[in-house]
């Protein structure tokens, strides 16, 4: 019995009237977990019952704790007949199972009924007592943290990024079981909700086990999806990235971003070392022991009791030998060993890995953290310096090889992350994707989901080989999806082929980290654009030029990726949302024939989607796409393709050529005239877009570039008929060869239509920007007002004999009108940006197209937005809060540069206040434009570090030591800062956002994952306001339930919120409708930056007004 779950039912309110005669309700509550049920007393005749129950105690396995939801049913007592259910609350108790998250769930939960919706609320308190915390990892994986966020969560530091984890479980869908014929819709819905809840719990536990096997302690970028396969069953599958995360518990050492409630200060690992002289590895307290017990490298598991112990006790003997130090990972057995330590590791390689025994792990583990943190500092500071570079030379090849092999050893070197710690992403190859069409058949044995596993394995294999073809050993920004219609299922996977820095991938691998040094003499911000593949042996025809930024490496002319724009990328102007939309009619067919038809259509669709994207990108005068997501949806009689991405102009890439239109019949005069008219329109549009998105790249003369510049005569032709591509071909090579300008050949009316449709895309009204990535390139001065929303539209196609063109137009109009409506609705927020715009398309019926959009509108400061030249450092700080690695980089750079004063008033104010605190004369106060926004975010500690580090060269180990020394002192400063988190925030307001951050605020704590599944059904559709009224109410209810759960966990926001599914079915003739919604996100506690600063510096609140007006804006 490793766990005791305790539940107390306090009260209810706003209950519905269940007894018409008395207009009252005799309510009682059933509390169920697993097979145990408790009941409260009946509270007679009250709509606001007070139960104040005893603590109901469930003694359960932790396995059950992970799988089972707590089920609370509110009923109306009836003496004579069966008790009527009022509704239910399912509570996922997972957040209570790991120490850093919530400790209690307590609050008002909406009582939900699948037929009536929300019917009152119930106040519940839930606690979990976990026994023997240490050696309990058998079937359960309690303690593994889950994050939906697709980057390293704020207030954590990635020690190691282990890699891909995936799992799926299958079951019969209760809706399709025979019993469904005789039970009520309510019973059927509840069975489904419960089953899915159970399956997600199980899935999460299994993924957790895999993470523990990899010696990780967290899953980041966790994405769980349901495949409703109808008759053939229900599949719940999930992917994620296993990591070893360290909590940045000591805010002093880092940014205010990480200041956490004081309670956590106690469980700080090595950063809070009370004695700066002992370097980073302090005394091995039991706490540390615990923190690192998930340590990843198997090779250490045996060292434990050996002589290594004393090493850890004498940490001052660390830093390691000055020469190249290479930490061995089990995956690369052939490397020479550079130190005693390493030799041991080598010896251990052959030994079987045993499960870690916590007590014996102490020393090596500690050591590892130490070495790693140093290496981190080194790498972070050394981005642009050459201090350690020369060491790298001889080992260059070796390292590359090692990295490769390390990754190749993994079955799938995939990462669901879309944003990375600095230095992690070395090169980006391009988008890789794979799709396959499958016929569903009944899942015969739910315990062995091999078929589905095999399907996905096949696709992943394909992705892997695509990446290899691009000279990349890894895939980042990886995601998977399905589209199901009857018995046909399209499985899709896509990601971005990339070369990664091995530093984060395995523990203690390459200290000194040579990989980035290969380019260390290049300015940052372009490295990821450089081609990873061999230029003489290119995997596809591409046009390469020298990088506009460093002029040393080759870059492609266009770059497509599925990831977020790297924070250090240099961008010119602003970005914008670019969508390609496409419909293809398909004959209705059965089984095999249908699957074949779809398979045949897919490559054409991919090709056209790609062409559209390329054209629209050129029309915007941009040269790169980020966050690309191509969704192919299958319906009875058509296929839909919708690609969304954020276009930007990357300074490193060449200026895009224009679009040239060529007619096929040059003799026809009027036709020529028409063509030239079109051409003019296109040119005008491009010019207008350049202005709109502020794309003014600096002029570069030809000699400097040393490679052909786009010239009119060198135009190539894009033949629309050229579509020999197969669905196996990667995206990159489809539509352009070694060409500069883009030629659209108008050979038929279709082509004409396409050109027209290019020009019909209306830019957003002034004051609005939109993107589908986390942050909008070119805007970095967000104010704190945010509004997350979901909008759904369904159109009925008017006629049955539709053509592809008509269909395309319908679909295009649907999306454009939807966007227009959003701009109109949110006009009061101008200037604002729609971020993370996420479109999903489904085809619920023959003639219906459904588009669901979720996004967040964020206001920004227009005046500051006019600052267009963003520097590298500013970019790094566009994110609302910064990772440890990033900030370590700054103080070093800051202190050694002498800088002029900067223009941003808020930053200046902060800095002034900061420096006045630390007593530095104004003359010494060095700032620059480059670091202004950085300075904006960090206050007094900069000065502190500057004091400490003024004489020290950046990049040296000494510097890092100093920085570390500085931290305990800074801590003193910051202790004040971590004052009560949300004491001042408006009670009850819970923000929701699809982004991983909240503008103007710091996330101080992650409370756990929110993963909820709801079904709503009605048999009185008209009375509920028709389909719109019904769905409107349901979505509002889903939001309310998410908010209530977050509030009960003690949180005030959900980040990385996503509506993964919104399946809507209607039958107006029967006055019925049903909808299934699945949402997820990370529950967090955030603190307003303004509050933080007021608390810490005791400055008047006016100080932070410029950066965050309207402090308490709600969402």
């Amino acid at each position: 019995m490793p766990g005791k779950l305790k539940v107390k039912i306090v009260a209810g309110r706003h209950l519905p009237v269940m007894d018409r005669a008395s207009d009252l309700t005799d309510a009682f509550v059933e509390v169920k977990f697993g097979n145990t049920t408790f009941k409260t007393d009946v509270c007679l005749k009250s709509l606001n019952p007070q139960w104040n129950s005893e603590w109901f105690k469930f003694e359960v396995d932790d396995e059950d704790l992970q799988d089972e939801p707590l089920q609370i049913t509110v009923l109306d007592h009836d003496t004579y007949s069966a008790n009527d259910a009022i509704g239910k609350v399912y509570i996922d108790i997972d957040p209570l199972l790991y120490s850093e998250a919530a400790t209690v769930i307590s609050g008002w939960f909406p009582i939900y009924d699948t037929i009536h919706g929300i019917r009152g609320e119930i106040n519940v308190v839930v606690k979990v007592d976990l026994f023997n915390d240490l050696n309990r990892f058998r079937q359960s994986s309690c303690g593994v943290k889950f994050f939906c966020t697709t980057s390293i969560p704020k207030c954590y530091r990635a020690v190691i990024i282990h890699g891909f984890v995936e799992e799926l479980v299958v079951n019969e869908d209760p809706e399709y079981q025979w019993i469904d014929r005789i039970r009520t819709p309510r019973a059927s819905n509840e069975a489904r909700q419960r089953l899915i809840s159970l399956m997600s719990g199980e899935l999460q536990r299994k993924i957790g086990l895999k993470v523990l096997e990899m010696r990780g302690n967290a899953v980041v970028g966790y994405l769980q999806c349901f495949d409703l396969e109808g008759e053939s069953g229900l599949v719940v599958r999930a992917i994620g990235t296993a990591c070893t995360l360290d909590k940045l518990s000591s805010p002093a050492a880092f940014l205010p971003a990480c200041s956490s409630p004081s309670k956590e200060m106690k469980e700080i690992p090595f950063n809070e070392d009370p004695n700066p002289n002992t370097h980073s590895s302090g005394p091995s307290t039991p706490l540390k022991n615990q923190t690192y017990s998930f340590s990843p490298s198997k090779s250490y598991s045996r060292q434990s009791s050996s002589s290594d112990t004393d090493l850890s006790l004498t940490p001052k003997t660390a830093p390691y030998p000055q020469g190249p130090r290479i930490y061995l990972s089990p995956s690369s057995p052939s490397l020479p060993c550079g130190s005693l330590h390493l030799k041991k590791s080598c010896l251990l390689l052959s030994e079987s890995s045993l499960p870690p025994h916590p007590s014996s792990l102490v020393s090596p583990v500690l050591r590892k953290s130490v070495s790693f943190s140093e290496e981190l500092f080194l790498a972070a500071s050394g981005m642009g310096s050459g201090s350690a570079g020369k060491e790298g030379g001889p080992f260059k090849a070796l390292l590359r090889q090692q990295t490769q092999s390390a990754l190749e050893q993994r079955e799938f070197p995939f990462f669901t992350l879309t944003a990375f710690p600095p230095g992690f992403l070395v090169h980006v190859g391009g988008v890789v994707s794979a799709r396959s069409v499958k016929l569903l058949d009944r899942i015969h044995n739910p315990d062995e989901p091999e078929t589905r596993d095999a399907w996905w394995a096949e696709i992943r294999q394909e992705i892997k080989s695509h990446a290899k073809a691009l000279g990349c050993h890894a895939v980042v920004g990886y995601s998977e999806s399905t589209s199901i219609c009857e018995e046909v299922c399209i499985l899709s996977a896509s990601g971005t082929a990339a070369v990664l820095n091995p530093r984060f991938l395995q523990d203690g691998t390459v200290e000194g980290c040579l990989e980035p040094r290969l380019e260390e003499n290049l300015p940052a911000g372009c490295g990821f654009c450089h081609i990873p593949y061999d230029e003489l042996n290119m995997p596809f025809p591409a046009h390469l030029t020298y990088c506009n930024n460093c002029r040393k490496q080759k870059v492609p002319d266009v770059l497509f990726t599925t990831i977020d724009l790297p924070v250090d990328a240099t961008v010119i102007g602003k970005g914008c949302l670019i969508q390609a939309r496409l419909c293809r009619l398909k004959k209705k067919a059965q089984a095999e024939a249908n699957a074949t038809a779809i398979s045949n259509l897919l490559p054409f669709m991919e090709y056209e989607v790609h062409t559209q994207l390329m054209n629209k990108l050129k029309l915007k005068a941009m040269n790169a796409l980020f966050g690309l997501r191509i969704q192919i949806t299958v319906g009875e009689n058509m296929l839909m393709g919708l690609a969304s991405a954020t276009g930007v102009y990357l300074a490193a890439l060449p200026t895009p050529g224009g679009i040239q239109i060529a007619g096929k019949t040059p003799n026809d005069g009027s036709y020529e005239q028409h063509i030239s008219h079109m051409q003019k329109k296109i040119n005008d549009t491009i010019a207008k877009n350049k202005e709109l998105y502020e794309i003014n790249p600096p002029e570069i003369s030809e000699e400097i570039i040393g490679s052909p510049i786009p010239e009119p005569r060198q135009r190539s032709r894009l033949l629309r008929s050229q579509s020999e591509s197969s669905d196996e071909v990667t995206e990159l090579d489809l539509s352009h060869g070694k060409k500069d300008a883009f030629v659209l050949e108008i050979d038929d009316t279709d082509a004409m239509e396409d050109v027209h449709s290019l020009l019909t895309d209306v830019p957003p009204p002034s004051g609005f920007y939109s993107c589908n990535t986390e942050i909008m390139p070119g805007i970095n001065n967000w104010t704190s007002e945010i509004q997350m929303f979901t909008s759904v539209r369904v159109i009925r196609l008017s006629s049955l004999n539709l053509t592809n063109q008509a269909l395309n137009k319908n679909f295009n109009d649907l999306c454009e009108n939807l966007l227009k409506s959003l701009y109109f609705k949110l006009r009061s927020m101008i200037p604002c940006c729609l971020c993370h715009v996420n479109f999903t398309v489904s085809l619920p019926e023959d003639e219906l197209i459904q588009v669901t959009v979720t996004a967040v509108a964020i206001t920004f400061d227009k005046n500051q937005a006019l600052q267009t030249t963003k520097t590298h450092a500013e970019k790094l700080l566009q994110r609302a809060s910064t990772d440890n690695e990033e900030l370590l980089q700054f103080p070093l750079e800051l202190c050694s540069d002498s800088l002029p004063s900067h223009p941003f008033p808020p930053a200046k104010e902060h800095l002034e206040s900061a420096s006045s605190n630390s007593g530095i004369p104004a003359a010494q106060r060095a700032t620059s434009v480059d670091y202004s926004s950085f300075a904006d975010r960090c206050s007094s500690w900069i000065e502190l570090i500057k004091l400490k580090a003024q004489t020290i060269r950046r990049g040296s180990i000494k510097t890092t030591v100093t920085v570390e020394k500085a931290s305990p002192m800074g801590e003193g400063n910051f202790r004040n800062r971590s004052a009560p988190p949300c004491a001042n925030s408006t009670v009850g307001v819970v923000k929701m956002t699809p982004l991983s951050f909240i503008p103007g605020a710091k996330i101080t704590k992650y409370l756990g994952i929110i993963n909820m599944f709801f079904i709503r059904e009605t048999t009185s559709l008209r009375e509920e306001g028709g389909v719109s009224g019904f769905l409107h109410a349901f979505i509002a209810e889903v939001f309310a339930m998410v908010r209530a759960h977050v509030a009960a966990l003690g949180g005030n926001a959900v980040v990385s919120y996503i509506m993964k599914q919104c399946v809507f079915m209607e039958n107006p003739n029967k006055n019925q409708a049903q909808c299934l919604i699945n949402v997820s996100g990370d529950a967090v506690v955030f603190v307003r930056e303004s509050e933080l600063e007021v608390v810490s510096t005791q400055q008047p609140a006016a100080n932070c007004q410029p950066s965050c007006p309207g402090g308490e804006v709600t969402t």
């Binding site: 008002w108 509004q787 959003l822 306001g1025 719109s1028 409107h1032 309310a1040």
Partner: protein, 326 residues
Amino acid sequence: TSELDIFVGNTTLIDEDVYRLWLDGYSVSAAVALRARSGILEQTRATAAVLQSDSVDHYRTFHRLGRPLHAPPKLPHQLIFQIPPSRQALLIGRYYAFDEAFVREVLGKKLSKGTKKDLDDISTKTGITLESCRRQFDNLKRVFKVVEEMRGSLTGRKKLQYLSFGDFAFCAELMIQNWTLGAVDSQLDDMHVDLDKEFLQDVKELKVLVADKDRLDLHKGLVCTALRGKLGVFSEMEANFKNLSRGPVNVAATLTHNKDVRDLFVDLVEKFVEPCRSDHRPLNDVRLFLNHYSASVHSLYGFRHQALWDRSMGTLRGCFLRLYHD
């Protein structure tokens, strides 16, 4: 056209202009037309379809907000709509605001179903939409209901809560014995319990006891002389004599209207029992006072209505003493 078209914000989006149109009772199509006329399309470069979609969506939200708005205290506690407090105040304030023209028409009318049926007349007369009239009418009813149930001086029903059935029965008996037609005219059936209208009319004559300053002072002097030294709180009685005297005189004098008869018990409590109670007089003091108060009138020089006074005061004294308890 869209089969389905919705927008749901985490914070409920409220367009004040549309809210006003909705409150004013315009249909969606009328609202769309009015908005279009306001020039919003030109300002925002939006299409009519966008405006239509936006208006329908807002109307749907407002419609759903209706229920929490009917019980404003619940608005901050409901979980479905996340609305910042300032916005909540705006919603409630606007919802319960009324048009003066409408209220002028309703003033003095009963908030009954009958009146509600006549709202279309008011609507025609005032030019306020029927929809808006209905909302305002229902608002008045809701406000009235809340006010009625509140503790406080606005209504008397609550004040009678402490009385037992016996109290009511006792007083009713006294009145039947003394104030009905049957009581004076033995010819009539004993069961004739209508109040003696003529008597009630005559009772008004007693008002001179408070209206005529000289007589009031005289009366006061007599009562004070008799009571000096016998009461616990004499001085207050002396100071308040006019008010104390007004109660018994007026209660009886206003009974000619049916409405006042209905409020008799409230009047008894409010006009005499409560003032005495607030001075914390012991029952005995009250009894003494009432005895001397009624008796000393007989010694008033030139006062002609002795019989009338006895008939009136006898009953009232009984009632007052019966009702004077906690």
